[in-house]
C-alpha cells in the first residue's frame, strides 16, 4: 500500500482500495447487474427462483472477479500459455467425447460438473495473444503475425465445428482485437479484407446444397417463420411496442404473454426494450458504452505491452458481445446465439465475463507501479 502511495498510484484507501477494485468500473458493472436482475424478474414471469439462481451465479462471478483483481498481472502473463493449451486440449476433447446438449457438442462432463471449454477459451485467447506480442517488436513482423493468426483460428475452427458459430465469432474477435491493437499496418488489414471477400464466392461454390440453404436461412431468418424468423418477428414487435417510454416494468404484453421465445436468455433485450422504451434503452446503451470506454482507458494507461493488449481485448470483447446481441434481437444482424452480457439468464458466461473484469482491475492496480 505504502509503495502505491509513494508512487502516486491508485490511491484508493478504504475497502475498495484494499480489494483493489476500480471504483468507476465497479459502479458501472453493479448498475448493469442490478438492472439485469430487474428485467430478469419481469422476463421470467416474476419468478423469484430464477432471480435467486441468477444472483448466485453473479455472486460467484464477483468472487472470481475479486480473486483476479488481487492477482498480479505477472501471474496472468505466466499462466497464459498453460491456460491456452489446456483450453485447446479440452476443445479437442469436447469434439471427440463431448456431451450433446441442444444439438451441439459443447459440454465436457467431468463427472461432477458439466463444463464448456469454449468459456475457458474466452479468457485464454486474449491472454495468449497478449502474451504472444508482449515481448515482440511491434508493429509485428510477418512471421509473428502469421503465428498469431494460427493461435486465433485453430480454436475458432474447433468451436465452429461444435457447432457454435456465435462463440466462435466472439473468440475470434477477441484475438483479432489484440492483433489490431498490436499495430498491424492498415495496408495488411485492407489486403486481408479483400482476400476474404474474394474467397467467399469460392467457398460458396464448394458448399453442399443443404449448407447453402443454412447460410441463406442464417442471413435471412424471416424466410423461416417457424424458427429463427418467429423469434425475430416477435422480438421486433416487442421492442417496437415499447415506444419512447416503454410499457412499464412487468407490463410488456409480448414478454408477459410469452410470445417472445427465449425471453430470459438471448432475447432478454426485447423485454427490456418493451418495458422501458427508447429512454431506458439509451440509458442501457450508455452503461455498456461507459464500461467499455473505462476498460479502454485502463488499456491506454497500462504499464506494459501485455497489459495494454489484454485490457483492450477484454474491453472490446465485452462490447462486441453487447453489440451482436442487441443487433441480433433488433434484426440488424443475423441470429447467432450470443447472450446479452451480464444480463441474460444462465450460462457460465457471467463468471467468465466477471473474471475478465477482474483482470482489467488487476491491470488498473498496477498501472503506475512503474511510473514514467
Amino acid at each position: 500500500m505504502n509503495l502505491d502511495d509513494s508512487l502516486g498510484g491508485p490511491a484508493q484507501r478504504g475497502l475498495l482500495g484494499w480489494l483493489r477494485l476500480d471504483p468507476p468500473l465497479l459502479t458501472g458493472l453493479l448498475l448493469l447487474i442490478a438492472l439485469g436482475l430487474v428485467v430478469l424478474y419481469s422476463a421470467s414471469g416474476q419468478s423469484e427462483a430464477v432471480v435467486i439462481r441468477q444472483g448466485i451465479r453473479i455472486g460467484l462471478g464477483l468472487a472470481v472477479m475479486l480473486v483476479f483483481a488481487r492477482l498480479g498481472v505477472h501471474k496472468l502473463y505466466l499462466w497464459a500459455p498453460a491456460l491456452y493449451v489446456t483450453a485447446f486440449v479440452l476443445l479437442v476433447l469436447v469434439l471427440v467425447a463431448g456431451d450433446t446438449g441442444k444439438g451441439a457438442q459443447r459440454w465436457l462432463n467431468l463427472g461432477f460438473v458439466r463444463f464448456q471449454p469454449a468459456e475457458l477459451m474466452k479468457l485464454a485467447m486474449p491472454l495468449m495473444l497478449a502474451f504472444h506480442f508482449a515481448e515482440r517488436r511491434l508493429p509485428p513482423t510477418w512471421q509473428d503475425l502469421a503465428l498469431a493468426l494460427g493461435l486465433v483460428f485453430a480454436p475458432v475452427v474447433l468451436i465452429f465445428l461444435q457447432p457454435d458459430l456465435g462463440t466462435a465469432l466472439l473468440i475470434g474477435w477477441s484475438g483479432l482485437v489484440v492483433i489490431f491493437a498490436a499495430g498491424i499496418r492498415w495496408r495488411t488489414i485492407l489486403l486481408t479484407a479483400v482476400a476474404a471477400l474474394a474467397a467467399a464466392p469460392l467457398l460458396w461454390h464448394f458448399m453442399h446444397d443443404y449448407q447453402r440453404r443454412r447460410v441463406l436461412n442464417f442471413l435471412n431468418p424471416e424466410s423461416d417463420p417457424l424458427g429463427a424468423g418467429y423469434h425475430l418477428i416477435q422480438s421486433k414487435i416487442a421492442i417496437g411496442a415499447g415506444g419512447l417510454y416503454g410499457r412499464g416494468w412487468l407490463e410488456g404484453s409480448q414478454a408477459q404473454l410469452k410470445f417472445l421465445p427465449e425471453r430470459t436468455t438471448d432475447f432478454i433485450f426485447a423485454v427490456f426494450g418493451e418495458e422501458f422504451g427508447l429512454v431506458g434503452v439509451l440509458a442501457l446503451f450508455a452503461l455498456y458504452l461507459f464500461i467499455t470506454l473505462r476498460g479502454l482507458y485502463i488499456a491506454v494507461h497500462a504499464k506494459d505491452t501485455f497489459s495494454r493488449l489484454l485490457a483492450a481485448s477484454l474491453s472490446m470483447t465485452f462490447f462486441i458481445y453487447f453489440f451482436v446481441n442487441v443487433g441480433m434481437v433488433s434484426g440488424l444482424l443475423p441470429v447467432v446465439g450470443v447472450p446479452l452480457p451480464l444480463v441474460s439468464y444462465g450460462g457460465t458466461s457471467i463468471v467468465t465475463l466477471l473474471a475478465g473484469f477482474g483482470m482489467l482491475m488487476a491491470i488498473q492496480n498496477e498501472r503506475r507501479l512503474v511510473a514514467k
Binding site: R137, G183, P225, G240, A241, L244, Q254, L278
Partner: protein, 633 residues
C-alpha cells in the same frame, strides 16, 4: 519476462493510443447504428408494432405430415400408419425427472425397459421434444392417466400415427424401419421441414426414399387468450402427406422364398430380368422391424446383436461370398469370345490340374475327375479342371473384364441403402492391396469363382438376369410407382447396360448348357428337373475356408460354421425369361441339393402361381384395391 527483444517502446507508446482511439470511434459508431435502429423500431415504427402487439394473439405450431404408405406390386400394404396413444414427456418442462417417473409409475406401470429406452432417447434428443415413455397405451391406462394428469406437468397422452409393419420380420431387410430421429440425422435433413417430425427412415426403403415418404410440414395458427391458451384455430396450412410407394416386390413371392429357406441362414433374390424389378429379396434370419419404431429395448437389441446367425445382417445386399461355380457360364463365354475354346472341342479332365511347367496341383471337386468333357458337359457337371485350364489361358485381365461386364465388383445400384459391391480382383488391385504381383495360381481358382472374388446374392441375381436377357442387362430396382395425390406415376424407364458379344450365338451355347445343368441326368441341378417349364441354372459352392492340397473335404467332420455355402442361380422359362433367382444357403453343402429346390419353389410360385392370374404380372394399385381371391375372367 525472460526473453529480450529489442522493442521500440516509443513507437509502441505512440501507436497504441491511436489504435485505441480507432476502437473507441468504432464503438461509438456501432452504438450509433444501434440507436438508429432503436429509433426506427421504437419511434418511427412504434404505432405499427404497437398494433401488432395488441393483435398478437396468434401462435404458430407445426403439424407433422403423414408418412407415405408402402405397397407391394399387387397393392398389399407393407408399411402402415396406425393410431396409437403414447405417454410422452417433454424433459424441458419437468423439474425433477426421477421423482416424476416414480410418481408416474404408480399410475401407469413402467417397466425397467421403458425407463431405459426413455433415458436413451432423452440423451439424444433436444429437451423441448416430446418423448415417449410408454407407447401403445391401453384405454384403461389412458383413462387412469387423464384422471391424474394435473399432478404431472410436462407429461401428456398423445395420439400419434405410428408406423406399423403388418408383415413383421418378412420385409425387415427390404423395407427397413423408421425410428426416432436423432440430432445427427436432424442436421442432415432440412430441419424446418422436420420440425414436427418424430421419426425418420433408418434403413431399407424407409431410408432410401425418406424424402418421398416424409412429405411437407404444415402450420397451424392458433388464436390464444391472454393466458396463452388456445381459443380457436385461425388458419391452417395443412401438411402435405408423403408420397405412397408401390414396390415391385410381391408379398406372396416373398413369403414363399422365406418359407423355402426354412429357417436356414441365407438369402434369396428374385428379379424380373426384363426390367430389373426386384420380385423378392429375402435375407434370413430376420427380425421384427416393429421393435425399432419406438426405440428398441436394450434386451431385445442385445438379443439381436449377439445372435450368432446375425439377424440384423442383410445377406442379400451386404453378404459378400465367393460366387463359386455360378460364374462358370460367363467364364465359358469369355473363352468362346476369345476363341480359346469351341463348343465341340473336348479335353480330358483328370482328377487335378497342374500349372504348365509343374507346380501346385488344383483338384477337381470330383475325386476321380470327369474324363472327356466338352464345354456343355463341363458346365453341366461343373467340371473344375476344364475351367482351371480355360482360366489359365484367359489370364487375369480377360477374367476381370468378363466379370466386370456382368456387374461383379461394383454395387448394382439398387434403390436400397448400404449395398456392397463385392470384390473383383485385378493385377492393379493386388498391387495396391497386397503390394504383390499377380500369381498364375490365383488366376486358376478365380475362374471357378474362388480366391479373392466375392459377390453378393443381389449381384449374382443381376448377373443371371443379364445372361437370361442375352446381354440386355437391367439395374435391379424396387420402386415401381409413386402415388402422389392418388395418381400413380411410373418411375420411368429402368436403366441398365449391354453386354455385346462378338458372336451372339455364344449366348445359345451357354444358355443351353445352363438348361442342361437342370435337365441332364448328370447335371448338378437335376434334382429340380420336373417343372412344367424350362429352367436354366447353375449350382455353386462357396468355400468358407480352403483345403490344403492333400486334405479331404468331409462335411460331417466339420463344425457347421466351417462348412461350404450352397449357391444356385437360374432363370425361367428359358425361352421367355420372366424370373431370375439367386439363392444362397449358408453352411449347407451342395448347391444342387439344397439351394436349387429353394429357387424352384420361388419360380413355381411366380410362374405357376396359386391363383388364376398365375404368375403373370398384374399390378393392382391401391386406387383399385386388389384382393385377388377367387377366379377372375
Amino acid at each position: 519476462m525472460a526473453r529480450q527483444v529489442i522493442k521500440d517502446i516509443h513507437l509502441e507508446l505512440r501507436m497504441f493510443p491511436r489504435r485505441v482511439a480507432v476502437l473507441v470511434l468504432m464503438c461509438v459508431l456501432l452504438v450509433g447504428a444501434l440507436v438508429a435502429r432503436m429509433v426506427h423500431l421504437q419511434v418511427i415504427g412504434h404505432a405499427h408494432y404497437s398494433d401488432l402487439a395488441t393483435d398478437n394473439r396468434v401462435r404458430l405450431s407445426p403439424i407433422p405430415p403423414t408418412r407415405g404408405l408402402i405397397y407391394d406390386r399387387r397393392g398389399v400394404l407393407l408399411a402402415d400408419n396406425l393410431p396409437a396413444f403414447n405417454l410422452e414427456i417433454v424433459p424441458e418442462q419437468v423439474k425433477d425427472l426421477p421423482n416424476l417417473l416414480g410418481r408416474l409409475g404408480e399410475v401407469i406401470e413402467l417397466s425397467e425397459d421403458d425407463i431405459q429406452r426413455f433415458e436413451r432417447l432423452r440423451r439424444r434428443s433436444p429437451a423441448y421434444r416430446s418423448l415417449p415413455i410408454k407407447t401403445n397405451l391401453s384405454e384403461a391406462e389412458v383413462a387412469r392417466f387423464m384422471v391424474a394428469r394435473h399432478r404431472f406437468d410436462g407429461v401428456s397422452v398423445q395420439a400419434r400415427l405410428q408406423r406399423h409393419y403388418p408383415f413383421g420380420a418378412r420385409f425387415a431387410h427390404l423395407l427397413g424401419y423408421v425410428g426416432r430421429i436423432n440430432e445427427r440425422e436432424l442436421r442432415r435433413v432440412d430441419a424446418r421441414n422436420y420440425r414436427a417430425t418424430t421419426h425418420i427412415g433408418k434403413t431399407g426403403i424407409e431410408k432410401y426414399y425418406e424424402s418421398l415418404l416424409h412429405g411437407t410440414v404444415g402450420v397451424r395458427e392458433d388464436e390464444v387468450n391472454s393466458h396463452g391458451r388456445r381459443i380457436r384455430v385461425i388458419r391452417e396450412t395443412p401438411p402435405r402427406p408423403g408420397e405412397s410407394l408401390v414396390l415391385s416386390v410381391d408379398a406372396r413371392l416373398q413369403a414363399v422364398a422365406t418359407a423355402a429357406l426354412a429357417g436356414r441362414s441365407g438369402a434369396v433374390v428374385a428379379l424380373d430380368p426384363r426390367n430389373g424389378e426386384v420380385l423378392a429379396l429375402v435375407s434370413e434370419p430376420d427380425f421384427d422391424p416393429n421393435l425399432f419404431v419406438n426405440g428398441i429395448s436394450r434386451r431385445d437389441y442385445a438379443r439381436l446383436r449377439d445372435d450368432r446367425e446375425r439377424p440384423l445382417f442383410n445377406r442379400a445386399l451386404r453378404g459378400q461370398y465367393p460366387p463359386g461355380s455360378t460364374v462358370k457360364p460367363i467364364v465359358a463365354l469369355a473363352g468362346l469370345e476369345a476363341g480359346l475354346i469351341t463348343p465341340e472341342r473336348r479335353m480330358f479332365a483328370g482328377p487335378y490340374y497342374e500349372l504348365p511347367g509343374g507346380g501346385r496341383r488344383f483338384r477337381d471337386w470330383l475325386k476321380g475327375g470327369h474324363g472327356w468333357v466338352d464345354l456343355d458337359r463341363a458346365i453341366v457337371r461343373s467340371c473344375d479342371v476344364y475351367f482351371y485350364d480355360l482360366s489359365y489361358k484367359l489370364g487375369i485381365d480377360r477374367l476381370h473384364d468378363i466379370y466386370g461386364r456382368f456387374g461383379l465388383g461394383r454395387p448394382t445400384g439398387v434403390d436400397l441403402p448400404g449395398e456392397l459391391g463385392g470384390l473383383l480382383p485385378s493385377r492393379e488391385w493386388k498391387r495396391r492391396r497386397h503390394k504383390q504381383a499377380w500369381y498364375p495360381g490365383e488366376t486358376v481358382i478365380l475362374g471357378i469363382g474362388q480366391g479373392y472374388l466375392l459377390a453378393t446374392p443381389l449381384q449374382l441375381a443381376t448377373m443371371t438376369a443379364c445372361i437370361a436377357m442375352r446381354g440386355d442387362c437391367r439395374r435391379p430396382h424396387l420402386l415401381k410407382a409413386r402415388i402422389a395425390s392418388a395418381v400413380p406415376s411410373d418411375t420411368g424407364q429402368p436403366r441398365g447396360w449391354r453386354v455385346t458379344l462378338r458372336d451372339p450365338r455364344h449366348w445359345d451355347v451357354i444358355i443351353d448348357a445352363m438348361r442342361h445343368v437342370v435337365s441332364s441326368p448328370e447335371g448338378t441341378g437335376r434334382r429340380i428337373n420336373d417343372a412344367p417349364y424350362s429352367i436354366a441354372g447353375k449350382t455353386g459352392t462357396a468355400q468358407v475356408f480352403s483345403l490344403k492340397e492333400d486334405e479331404e473335404y468331409e462335411a460331417d467332420k466339420l463344425a457347421r460354421h466351417m462348412r461350404d455355402h450352397a449357391w444356385f442361380v437360374g432363370f425361367a422359362p428359358v425361352e421367355d425369361p420372366r424370373i431370375a433367382v439367386a439363392v444362397i444357403v449358408e453352411h449347407a453343402g451342395h448347391g444342387g441339393s439344397v439351394a436349387a429346390p429353394v429357387a424352384r419353389r420361388v419360380m413355381d410360385a411366380w410362374l405357376l402361381g396359386d391363383g388364376p392370374a398365375g404368375g403373370l404380372v398384374r399390378t393392382a394399385l391401391p386406387a383399385a384395391p386388389a384382393r385377388q381371391e377367387g377366379r377372375r375372367p
